[in-house]
């Protein structure tokens, strides 16, 4: 673990203080923080940071709501539940790259099914993957489809820890089924929801394969994520020093976000059930 997680961070810190690109014959040469100054002035990096954040915020938000509905449904007892559970897990189990391309076909203009439907409804072409204002929503949709089952699983696990007695007692006291949701289920589920938010925020902030395959960062760079920019810098521009800088900066920004989320949740009192 130290090798896989610790070493890269040290190496990045060192690399980010050096120029190591084709210009220097791929040999690291110290450049006294020039990478970091370049980063601060790099509009593309900041655009990617904004894009990555809005992508993460929207997809995690949607996923939590959807997953909650799914988990409540899958927690009830009915015939065939096991199979439906397994089937609803599938999007999460399939490789991201694989379904990213599937989505690219679905969003395709003019042959994809969505575009065909819009056509027969008499709408103008949607151009889902070539409109810089809308394409990021397509990536959100693909991400929500793909990772909601993961949160559903987490929440399902949480629901199973709530004893049935609580609900019977609540009904005896004259509570309505609908009220049980806000009085029992949600408060007791909160820790699981928080862990879901935390996990998914971290993952969404590092989004790479999905966007790489679905849009390649386009159109006009409007869906490019930080991880992708770092990848481009290293593998296409062969600028390893700057790539390391981008990754380190991405990591710092992410830590800040996670920290802020944790603090905000603490302030809003959502963490209280954890302590009791």
């Amino acid at each position: 673990m130290a090798m896989v997680f610790g070493w890269p961070m040290l190496r990045y810190s060192w690399l980010s203080m050096h120029a190591s690109s084709v210009l220097t014959g791929l040999e690291p040469v110290s450049n006294q923080g020039a990478n970091w100054i370049r980063l601060l002035e790099d509009a593309r990096f900041w655009q990617d940071a904004v894009q990555t954040s809005r992508f993460a915020a929207l997809s995690v938000g949607l996923e939590i709501v959807l997953a909650l509905a799914m988990a409540l449904l899958l927690d009830q007892r009915w015939r065939g539940r096991g199979v439906v559970r397994a089937l609803s897990l599938l999007p999460w189990a399939l490789p991201t790259t694989m379904m990213a391309l599937g989505w690219r076909w679905i969003f395709n203009t003019p042959y994809g099914p969505l575009e065909q439907m819009a056509q027969s409804a008499g709408l103008s072409p949607l151009n889902l993957l070539s409109n810089p204002d809308w394409t990021w929503l397509a990536t959100v949709m693909a991400d929500v489809w793909k990772t909601t089952p993961f949160i559903t699983l987490l929440l399902l696990a949480g629901l199973q820890t709530i004893p049935d007695d609580l609900y019977s007692a609540f009904r005896l006291e004259g509570g309505k089924t609908r009220q049980a949701l806000t009085a029992i289920t949600l408060p007791l589920l909160t820790p699981y929801i928080l862990i879901g938010i935390l996990f998914r925020t971290a993952q969404a902030a590092g989004v790479f394969d999905l966007i790489q395959v679905l849009t390649g960062g386009g159109p006009a760079g409007s869906t490019e994520s930080i991880a992708q920019y770092a990848y481009l810098n290293a593998m296409r521009f062969l600028d390893f020093g700057y790539s390391a800088t981008v990754m380190l900066a991405g990591f710092v920004l992410l830590s800040l976000v996670i920290f802020t989320v944790a603090v905000l949740l603490q302030i809003s009192g959502l963490l209280r059930p954890l302590k009791s």
Binding site: P8, T96, W105, A227
Partner: protein
């Protein structure tokens, strides 16, 4: 909610399965029919995409084999490391356990994509590129945090008395782990193994940078390469066929192991 339940179930299934069904349909549709809606219904269907895939060079099953090999190996390696480690950690004092939990949890949260560059340098340094056995090493390293979290919880669920009794019987630590505790945490081990396998099977950025020889690609990289072969005309039919073939093993795995996957997450990750 009871009366409308079938509706919700149907919605859930449509949402989860429709994109995949579309791939299935596409995979049997001839390339002409994909771009021409006017071709009559009877003439739209073909097996050409599957034939093309299976007779390609290298044939498609090669990627399935590569991914299975890497997945199996990573899973084995992760469990070999994580089971004894989790046992050791679970028997520590509560304070140090909490510290380790926090560190391991943070590592599990870490978006590992950011690590690919340094890992690639290591691969170059130690000549580990283009080697399916070697790529299991970073996979095991990356999967370790989650595996540890799940297994520590599993071990903590076992009473200490069990361990003590076995010790009084004169069993050493290895025997205790192997003959007394392992059988008891077998379910947790199984579900951890499945999650690790899924991770290794689906991993993309590291496989992309470590493997470049055609016959060594894992499934996700091979798929992305089909996509990238031309920006203008992605061979969607062939691609959809690949998706279908590539999904079958996972479909089987998930259907068979649904219970373990759910149970694994129930017992583990969320306790810390």
């Amino acid at each position: 909610m009871n009366r409308s339940r079938p509706l919700w179930i149907a919605l859930l299934l449509i949402w989860s399965l429709l994109p995949m069904l579309w791939q299935l349909i596409t995979s049997f549709t001839s390339s002409d029919a994909l771009v021409n809606a006017d071709i009559p219904f009877q003439q739209r269907w073909t097996l050409a995409h599957y034939r093309e895939l299976l007779s390609g060079d290298p044939p498609f099953w090669r990627y399935l084999f590569n991914s299975s090999l890497v997945g199996g190996l990573s899973t084995l390696l992760t469990l070999l490391l994580a089971v004894p480690a989790a046992y050791g950690i679970a028997r520590m004092a509560p304070a140090s356990r909490r510290t380790i939990r926090t560190v391991v949890g943070a590592a599990a949260l870490f978006p590992y994509v950011l690590l690919f560059l340094a890992l690639l340098e290591l691969a170059r340094e130690f000549q580990m590129g283009n080697n399916l056995l070697a790529i299991a090493l970073p996979y095991a390293g990356l999967a370790l945090p989650l595996a540890l979290l799940l297994l520590i919880s599993a071990f903590e669920g076992l009473p200490n008395e069990l361990d003590d009794a076995a010790r009084l019987e004169g069993l050493g630590v290895v025997d205790r782990l192997r003959w007394v505790l392992m059988p008891l945490i077998a379910p947790a081990t199984a579900s951890t193994g499945i999650l690790v396998f899924l991770f290794a099977w689906n991993e993309y950025p590291i496989a992309l940078t470590w493997l470049s020889r055609d016959d060594l690609l894992t499934l996700p990289v091979a798929m992305a390469r089909i996509a990238g072969s031309s920006i203008y005309a992605v061979p969607y039919g062939a691609y959809a066929a690949a998706t279908v073939l590539g999904s079958l093993p996972l479909l089987a795995l998930v259907l068979l192991c649904q219970r373990q996957i759910v149970a694994g997450l129930t017992n583990g990750a969320v306790k810390g």
